[in-house]
Each structure stands twice: as structure tokens, then as C-alpha cells.
Symmetry: C2
Subunit: 252 residues, 2 copies
């Protein structure tokens, strides 16, 4: 069916894009992009700000991150295929930052999916970082914005993934409740229904058999539990001049 | 997380690919591809076989279909953006074939999404056509096959769409019940949950506000009701040498 956008009974749209490769199909008229990589890049980013980091520089390649290994004031973090890249002390585990005093430091980070999504959407008017860790703070800030919002899932190697889409559904539900936002895209309606059907047991959905095997294989269960626990932080990282810094929600 | 495929407690996989552009990411090891374009190409194909058509030749462009307009023994069908292309008497409405005697005839058909998906997957060992019209017959045949099965949604201009994904979830549920098939992909798990949450009212989900406006705009409500009514046919179209013909389920 033809997709048309008509003036309707809401002011702004909130839509879900399931994977970075589809971003160009959904980017039009979207002022704010929320990049989502629940397991684990965007969870790690929020955790790092929660523990005092000054800024995070997302980079596309391992080679760009490597010169920062051991450099004063920097933490070099690199993950590929769910594992810490050889030579690096940090990957994309948020637990690596918990309890650390990161004040005054800069993380230079590259991950399989999350930093790619950031790179694709870097020209949006505003790009912010979402994860279950900052779900409520992010949703409360988003609902005050006067702009269309795209929830951009990082997926897994450009395939659909469940945890990012469920999180997008969780944000969407809060924005739709406001009455200020509406949806036009089927992906957005699907994300809402996925979250509604899974809200009471999303841990169990996310631990469905094939996923659980992969999680156990990589010994990620503590990470997964941490990443799926909502509202551990009120930090919202925002992209400014290619660097993630803390959004001051009292002025923006 | 790393996606790995391990020998587990099922013999074959059944997976869902949400849009044609992702087909290369999901095609590996998939012997049977089910092309799904519920609204409306694959529903129209099943309806045409139900009404006696000999074969359907799917073509990519309107120009390839046009020479068949008015030609003895042929029906030329072309749809773009949900509407019949100018100069053609047929588009992708299944209702155009209902009650017609199509025996001995050939349809040459091009549609926005469905024929593109067929073209992409034409080299699969077997390519069959799915729609709610032949849901039970198709599922019963699939469950007897000894091969991996990919449910390929045609989407809308390479975006995710709800009706194809819900249908994929319906087929998946029946195949998983058999115990012979299992899933590895998140998209497959999501399709199952979408169908489970929507099974009792999928008409209402598929008629959610933005979709309903488009449907009403194109005056498609009778078509939509017809396309979403399961088990009106036992016909399974199969691609052979570039043409869709009727699968003889007594021998295959």
C-alpha cells in the first residue's frame, strides 16, 4: 500500500528503524535520532557517563582506537564479534566501568554494531544514546522535545535483533502515552506490540533458546542482566562534534 | 552477540527474513524459500490458481508485462504503489480473479514488492508462494519437507511490513509445533511473538490507524478482508523455470 503522511491528531512522529542499513529509508524529517545497542555498546556508554567519564569518541575501526591504548587520560575500548579485541583491556562490557572513577578521562570506542549506527546517523540534528539503563530519563527528555524522533536499532551485523527492538518499543510506549507523538511505520507498530507482549517477561524472551546459547557461550549473563535492568542512570549521552558528551537536560 | 549454529534438538531451521534487501544475509543453507506478499501479490497468485490458471510468469518491469495486454490466452497484470498501472486491466487484486474461469490461461504479473522478492530468491532449490489463503495447506506441506525453510517477506519498498511478518509468524508457529523445526534468528523469534500477541485480533492490528488510512484511501478494504481470511485454497504455487505452476503435493 502507498505510504502517505497526512496531518493527523498528533504533533510529531516517533518511528523505529530495525537495522542501520535501513537508516536512509527512515531518516527523512527525523530531527532526533536515538541510537540503541542494548547488548552492549550503548549500555556501556551510559554506564561510563554514570561513572564520571568526560567524553566518549566513537570510532569506526580498531586501528583508530589502538593508538590510545595506555595513553594518559584515555581508555581504548574495542569489541568485535562480542569479544574484546586482542591488545585491548576494554571491549563493550558496561561492567568494566562500574565502580571505576572515570572523571577527566576519555574513552575511544569501536564496536561491531553500535558505533556503526552512530556513524551513519551523525548528521542528524541531535543524536542521543539509549539503553535500558537510562530508559526513564531518556523518555522523559524525549517527550519534551518538539521534533520527530527516530529510534535507530543497531541490530547484529545489519540483521534485526530483539533487545534493541524491545527497547525501542519501551520508549515508544511512553512517547505514545503523551498523545504528542504518533507513528506511521509498520516497524514502529511492530516494536510496540513486541514490547507489549514481552513487557512482563522480556528477560525470558531475550533468553530464548538460541540466544541463551550464545550468551552462555560468551559468558555474558552478568552483562545481559545488567544491560536489561532499567533506570540505573539518568545520564543521556549526546553527540557533539563527533564526541559523546553528557546532555544537560536542564537547558535542552 | 556472536551468532553460531550448533547441532541442537531439532532437525531443520525455519527462519524469517523481514525484507527482500536482507535476503542475502539469511539465504545461506536455506533450501526452501516461501515468498510472502500478503497485500496483495501472493494472495492474488493463490487466488488465480484456485480459479484455474495454468501458470503465472512473474516479471520485474511494467515494460515486460505490457506486450501481453490483449494477447490471446494471456492476462497482463501490473501494480505500482498499490494501484493498477495505466493501460492494464489487472493489478494485484485477488478479487479480480475470483469467480473467473482462468483455465488454460497465463498471467504475466509485475508488482511493487512481491515479484521483486521472487526474482531475488529464484535460485533457491524450491520457491513456493505463501498467503493466508493457503496457510494450512502450505504449512502442512512444509512440515513434511526435509530442508531448512526461509519465510521471505516482501515488505513495502524494502521496509518491514506487518502483514507479511504476521503471516510468517503463523507459519512458523505450525512448523515449531512439529518439533522438527527450530529457529536461530532474532527475526524469527520476533515474528512468532508478533503473531502470538496478535493472533486473536490481527485484523485490528493490521488496521491500526496509519495503515487504515492508507487502506481506505486506496479503497482496499474488501481486498484486505479477503487477503486476511485464511484457508480459502489448498493451492501452492511453485517456481519452475521462471514460471509459477501448481505444486503437486501428492508427489512432492
Amino acid at each position: 500500500m502507498e505510504i502517505t503522511h497526512r496531518a493527523v491528531d498528533y504533533q510529531y512522529r516517533v518511528e523505529v528503524c530495525f537495522m542501520p542499513g535501513q537508516y536512509p529509508l527512515y531518516a527523512q524529517d527525523m530531527g532526533i535520532v536515538v541510537v540503541i545497542d542494548v547488548l552492549r555498546a550503548t549500555s556501556a556508554m551510559v554506564a561510563a557517563f554514570e561513572n564520571g567519564i568526560d567524553r566518549i569518541i566513537p570510532v569506526a575501526t580498531v586501528e583508530e582506537a589502538r593508538p590510545y591504548i595506555g595513553r594518559e587520560g584515555f581508555i581504548a575500548a574495542a569489541e568485535r564479534n562480542g569479544e574484546v579485541v586482542e591488545g585491548f583491556a576494554y571491549g563493550n562490557s558496561p561492567l568494566a566501568y562500574v565502580g571505576e572513577d572515570l572523571r577527566g578521562k576519555t574513552i575511544v570506542m569501536t564496536t561491531t554494531n553500535g558505533t556503526r549506527a552512530i556513524s551513519l546517523a551523525k548528521d542528524a540534528r541531535m543524536l542521543v544514546i539509549g539503553s535500558f539503563l537510562n530508559l526513564s530519563a531518556l523518555s522523559e527528555w524525549l517527550v519534551k522535545q518538539n521534533d520527530n524522533i527516530l529510534l535507530l536499532c543497531s541490530g547484529w551485523k545489519d540483521k534485526f535483533n530483539l533487545e534493541d527492538s524491545m527497547f525501542a518499543g519501551a520508549v515508544m510506549e511512553r512517547l505514545l502515552e503523551s498523545g504528542k507523538f504518533g507513528v506511521e511505520e509498520d516497524s514502529s507498530i511492530a516494536a510496540k506490540y513486541m514490547f507489549m507482549s514481552g513487557r512482563d517477561n522480556y528477560m525470558s524472551i531475550l533468553k530464548a533458546a538460541p540466544r541463551r546459547r550464545r550468551i552462555e557461550q560468551l559468558q555474558l549473563l552478568p552483562d545481559v542482566k545488567y544491560c536489561l535492568t532499567p533506570d540505573q542512570s539518568t545520564m543521556i549521552p549526546v553527540l557533539r562534534n563527533g564526541e559523546l558528551v553528557l546532555l544537560d537536560t536542564t537547558v535542552e
